[in-house]
Subunit: 277 residues, 2 copies
C-alpha cells in the first residue's frame, strides 16, 4: 500500500465558557469545540463537516471511503488540513469518476437529524461478504467496561458521541466527535491506513444503531456493532439484510441482540435458564 | 389565514421485534417505526426524510418553513400524505422561486450526523426580532416536570427524540421522532396553523442544542430553548449572536444557562448566595 501523505493538524478540543447555574451563580465550564471543515477533492468542493477536529485527516479519508467515493486509502495521494481556513485539501491519484453525479442524490437521515448522506449508500453493499466474527457475553462485558473506564471529552464536557474500534475485546481506537458519523468515519480512515486487516472487528458507538451506522460498519468490513443505545427500524432492517450482528442497550453485563443472533454465543446454561429479566 | 388542506395520514408508531437478551432468552420488544417520506413540492422532488411518522403533514409544512422555502402556512394550498408510497405531495399557491438554487448548497451538520441541511439557514436570521420572553427557575422546573410525566414512545421503546412547545409553563404540543429535527419541524408546522401567535414560547428538546436547533427556534420566533442535554460551540455562538436564551442540563431543579443570561430571572437571594455546586 502506498499510504497518502497527510498533515497532522491539531486544534484545542474544548473551549471554556461562562454559564449561570440554577442558583444564579456564574461558573466556568468546558464545552466541546465544533468547527467547520470543508473537504475539497482535487480542488472541487465536496462537503462541509461540522467536527470536534481531533483527527481531521483520518476523518476526511474515512468520509470518502464510507461514501464509497474511493475504494482504498491508496487512491488518495495527500490530505492537507489547514484549520486557519477550515479546509481539507484531498488530492487523489486518479480522480473520482462521476463525482458530481454520485453526490447528487439526497437522503435525509435519522441520526438526530435532517442531514443528508449522499444517496446510494446501499449500492454495492448487498454483495459485501462480512467476516465470520462472533461475539460472546464476556467480550461484550469487556467492551462496555473498557468504554466506561476510558478518559474522554464526554466526561469532561459532554455533548459528544464516542465510537470505538475493538479487535475482539482489545481496544484499537477510541474517537469522539460532535457528530457521531464523523467519529465512525475517523475510525474508517484509521483502519484503512493499517498495514494488516483487523481481525474480529467490533464497532462500539454511544449513539443509536441507525441504518447509516449499520451500513458504514458493513462498508468497513465489520460484522458486529454494539451500542449503549437502541436501534431504529431501518437500522434493524439493514442489519438483518446484511447478516450483521446488532447489539444494543449494552451497559455493564446487560445487552439486547437485535439481529444476527447466530453470531452471538450465549452459554448453553444461560439459554436453558428462564430469562431472569 | 387561508389554511392549507391536509390529509391526516396515520401509521403505527412502533413495531414489535424479537430480541435475544444477555441470558440467551428470546424477548418481544417494541422499537420505534422509521419510514421514508419523500416531499414533492409542486411535483418536484425536494427531499426524503426518515421519520417516525406521527404527524407527516405538520412535519412537511414545518420543514418548508424552517428551511425558509416558504414564509407562511398559507403559501401552501394542500399537503397530501400517502404512506402507501411514502410521499407527501405539497401544492403551493404561487410556487417557490428559485427552488433549485436555494436547495443547492450543502452543509453537513452536527446533530449526530453528517446530514446536511440546505445551506444559508442563517440568511435573514440575523435581522429577526425575537420576542421579549423571559424565564425563571419555577417555569423551568415545571417544564422538566411536565416532560418527566409525559407518556411517550421513548418510555415504551426508546431510540426517539422528544421536543415540546410550551407557552411559559403550559405544554402546547409534545412530538417525538426518530430524527429530532423532524420533531422540531413538526412543532413549527403546528405553530404556523394556529390562529393566534404563541405568547412566551419556550422550546424543549431532549437533544443537544446544536446550531441548527437554535436557528430553527429563532426562525419559529422562539427566544428560549431548553435541553436535557448540553450545547455545542456553534449552538452557543448562534444563540449569543441572536440573543436567544439557551438552557441545558435541565433535569429536575437543576439547569445551566449558556446564553441570553438577561432573559433568565434567578431570585436575588439565589444570586447573593455562593454557588452551592
Amino acid at each position: 500500500m502506498k499510504a497518502p501523505r497527510m498533515t497532522q493538524a491539531r486544534v484545542p478540543l474544548t473551549h471554556t465558557v461562562q454559564v449561570l447555574d440554577e442558583t444564579g451563580a456564574l461558573r466556568s465550564l468546558d464545552i466541546p469545540a465544533e468547527r467547520a471543515l470543508t473537504l475539497y477533492v482535487d480542488k472541487r468542493e465536496l462537503v462541509t463537516l461540522m467536527t470536534l477536529g481531533a483527527h481531521p485527516e483520518w476523518m476526511s479519508l474515512g468520509y470518502l471511503l464510507n461514501q464509497r467515493l474511493i475504494a482504498h486509502a491508496d487512491d488518495v495521494e495527500s490530505i492537507t488540513v489547514d484549520w486557519e481556513v477550515g479546509a481539507a485539501g484531498i488530492r487523489t491519484r486518479h480522480g473520482i469518476a462521476d463525482l458530481a453525479v454520485r453526490t447528487a442524490s439526497r437522503v435525509v437521515t435519522t441520526g438526530c437529524g435532517q442531514g443528508s448522506v449522499f444517496g446510494s449508500l446501499m449500492d454495492g453493499i448487498a454483495n459485501l461478504a462480512l467476516p465470520p466474527t462472533r461475539v460472546n457475553a464476556d467480550t461484550l462485558h469487556a467492551i462496555t467496561d473498557t468504554i466506561r473506564l476510558q478518559d474522554s471529552i464526554y466526561k469532561q464536557s459532554g455533548s459528544v458521541h464516542g465510537c470505538a474500534l475493538f479487535s475482539a475485546d482489545k481496544l484499537q481506537l477510541f474517537v469522539e466527535d460532535v457528530g457521531r458519523h464523523n467519529a465512525i468515519d475517523t475510525i474508517a480512515g484509521w483502519m484503512a491506513l493499517q498495514p494488516q486487516p483487523l481481525q474480529n472487528g467490533i464497532l462500539y458507538t454511544t449513539g443509536r444503531l441507525t441504518s447509516e451506522m449499520v451500513i458504514k460498519a458493513a462498508t468497513m468490513g465489520i460484522a458486529v456493532v454494539v451500542s449503549r443505545s437502541g436501534i431504529t427500524q431501518m437500522g434493524l432492517s439493514v442489519a438483518n439484510s446484511l447478516g450483521l450482528c446488532a447489539i444494543g442497550r449494552a451497559v455493564h453485563r446487560r445487552f439486547l441482540c437485535y439481529a444476527g443472533f447466530e453470531r452471538l454465543q450465549v452459554g448453553a446454561a444461560a439459554v436453558a435458564t428462564p430469562a431472569a429479566v
